[in-house]
């Protein structure tokens, strides 16, 4: 092969490659860390030790607070949506579980986030699963197949259950006891930019006092145990609005 031919080939190659490159420029992907903090009104939640008051003034302590967070969708300022396929089990007792990382987000400017408290119906009917959805995590029911979306347990003097405990185990993916709740939070001001050179952090706050507040005020003497479909949607309706973006961070 002559020298000229070789050079020609090289030039053509470069030309083809560079035009191809300009057509399929890879979308850059980035990460977002969501840092979740649990509050009881103005105070940080601490398990067992501190007494809080519900809206009726009844005192209580919390011994366990855990829930599923899933189907995170980020909406960018052009209206395009990115959905994360991951499921997260957030547990007050497990510090690592309160920092969740959303991966594979196209770089861009985002205006809102939405997510499910709980697990979508498809994944309640998908058989054996692993990771956050492993039944070994103790968030799975067999009296009626499905995930427990949220567990809140503790003590309240007003409770009439043995040992004055209260326990709310909320689940159910089908009507009329559907407890899947979606939360949408708009980023104020300019939105958040997600770039690939640094991992952004979104501070979320979940206030457990909201679980006792309207739509239905929870009275421990009347409702101390929810472990099946009875009253489950009542509690789910209450916690639907417990999340806010933690502005002072």
């Amino acid at each position: 092969m002559s020298q000229v031919k070789l050079v020609m080939r090289f030039v053509i190659c470069i030309a083809v490659l560079s035009t191809a490159g300009s057509f399929t420029e890879p979308v850059e992907k980035a990460k977002l860390n969501i840092r979740i903090e649990h509050f009881a009104g103005p105070q940080r939640l601490s398990l067992d030790s501190v007494e809080y008051k519900n809206a009726l003034g009844q005192t209580f302590t919390v011994s366990r607070f855990r829930y599923y967070l899933s189907n995170v969708i980020l909406k960018n300022t052009d209206g395009a949506e990115f959905q994360s396929p991951d499921y997260f089990l957030v547990d007050e007792a497990e510090p690592d579980s309160k920092l969740i990382t959303i991966k594979g987000i196209p770089v861009g400017n985002y205006s809102s986030i939405s997510f499910t408290i709980g697990v979508d119906s498809l994944h309640n009917c998908s058989g054996a699963q692993s990771g956050a959805l492993d039944p070994v995590n103790g968030m799975f029911w067999t009296w009626s197949t499905g995930y427990i979306f949220l567990k809140l347990e503790g003590h309240a003097d007003a409770s009439t259950s043995p040992g004055h405990i209260f326990e709310y185990h909320i689940g159910g993916y089908a009507a009329p006891n559907n407890c899947i709740r979606r939360v949408t939070l708009n980023f104020k001001k300019k939105g958040i930019g997600i770039a690939n050179d640094k991992t952004d952090e979104l501070p979320l706050k979940a206030d457990i006092l909201e679980i006792f507040k309207p739509p239905t005020n929870i009275d421990f003497s009347k409702l101390s145990s929810v472990t099946d479909f009875h009253n489950a949607t009542t509690i789910a309706n209450n916690y639907e609005d417990m999340f806010t973006i933690n502005a002072d961070e």
Binding site: N124, C125, S126, G127, A128, Q129, S130, D134, P135, V136, F140, T142, W143, S144, T145, G146, P176, N177, F229, H230
Partner: protein, 348 residues
């Protein structure tokens, strides 16, 4: 004299070793790729169970079988799946009205047969379970049954070197996870397919029905078919057939799951294949014989809010009842009941 004993000893040893290697290589227990092919019988619908997520392999099936017959899955290592689900009864439990679990505890439901599970949308008498794979979690974690927590079970299995090897061979994972445990069990139970009864042979034109069987089939199609739909003999719905709740068990059926008033005393329509082998009958095993079942339908003493379509059974004559029973007996599938693949591998 002494020599005789020595001979006897050696003869015994030889017999033992011979038997042992006979068992190891016994074709009765060997599972080949052909043995685990899933064949949808002619006329059957598409299975509900999705094998794409859990492809059955000979090794996976053998592991599932081992687990099914192993009491290691229960807290005090006394109760295996097979303790309640007996092969000779199409994996129901002959003669116990209610299930018996560890420490002699009595459960609150009659043990149903295990067959044609891959066509079922819901499991248990009230449909509490929505997927074949997660079904074993109920007996594994129910204190009235196997009284064991899932985590502890996995730890027990993980400590057992043979199981670690078995699981690795199937799933290429040295950690025994709940997902793999459940999938292995499903590889075994999903192949429990019964579709070769006399009725099936009659349908395929391979065997003739007697006069009474034929009369029974006609009556069945007129009176029972709307719920016990062929070829699975269930339409997979939940119905109330006017059974009065037992005052001690207080089992009110599907309403316990849904809270919907209309679901009071509704139970899953059971598939009737091998029904002659699965006595006693109904969710609480209240009827010991098929005669008693037919009498319930024919007598017309129905408890509240029942499905009106059972009214057409009222007044079935003794002869008609007897013909229906004769027909029901043609649903016994000897091939399934004696299928070597499902035999207890410890019974060598």
């Amino acid at each position: 004299m002494k020599l005789k004993f020595v001979y006897l000893f050696f003869f015994g040893m030889a017999l033992y070793l011979g038997l042992n290697s006979f068992v190891e290589n016994n074709p009765y227990f060997i599972i080949t790729t052909k043995d685990v092919e899933v064949k949808v019988p002619a006329g059957f619908p598409k299975p509900v169970y999705d094998f794409k997520e859990n492809k059955v392999t000979p090794e996976g099936f053998v592991l599932g079988r081992k687990l099914f017959y192993d009491p290691i899955l229960s807290a005090d290592s006394s109760v295996s799946c097979a303790f309640c689900h007996q092969r000779i009864a199409a994996f129901a439990h002959i003669d116990h009205t209610l299930s018996h679990g560890i420490n002699g505890l009595i459960g609150n439901r009659n043990v149903p047969p295990l067959q044609n599970l891959i066509w079922q949308q819901n499991f248990m008498w009230d449909g509490a379970i929505n997927h074949l794979e997660v079904q074993p979690l109920a007996p594994l974690t129910n204190s009235q049954e196997m009284g064991e927590s899932l985590k502890h079970t996995l730890e027990k299995l993980q400590r057992n070197k043979t199981y670690v090897d078995d699981f690795y061979a199937v799933f290429k994972d040295t950690a025994i996870t709940s997902e793999n445990l459940l999938k292995a069990l499903a590889q075994f139970t999903s192949l429990m397919i019964s579709a070769n009864s006399k009725f099936d042979k009659y349908q395929r034109g391979e065997e003739e029905f007697t006069e009474h069987e034929l009369s029974g089939l006609k009556l069945f199609r007129a009176h029972c078919e709307n719920c016990h739909k062929e070829p699975l003999f269930t339409d997979n719905t939940f119905r109330n057939i006017g059974i009065k709740p037992d005052t001690a068990l207080r089992d009110s059926g599907r309403i316990k799951l849904t809270g919907v008033v209309d679901d009071y005393m509704k139970f899953k329509v059971p598939g009737l294949r091998n029904v002659a082998m699965t006595y006693p009958y109904m969710h609480d095993g209240r009827f010991r014989t098929l005669q008693q079942v037919l009498k319930h339908y024919a007598d017309g003493v129905f408890y509240t809010n029942y499905d009106k379509s059972i009214e057409k059974n009222v007044g079935l004559t003794n002869q008609e009842q007897s013909d229906i029973i004769t027909f029901l007996k043609t649903l016994t599938d000897e091939q399934f009941l004696h299928d070597r693949r499902f035999a207890d591998p410890n019974f060598r």
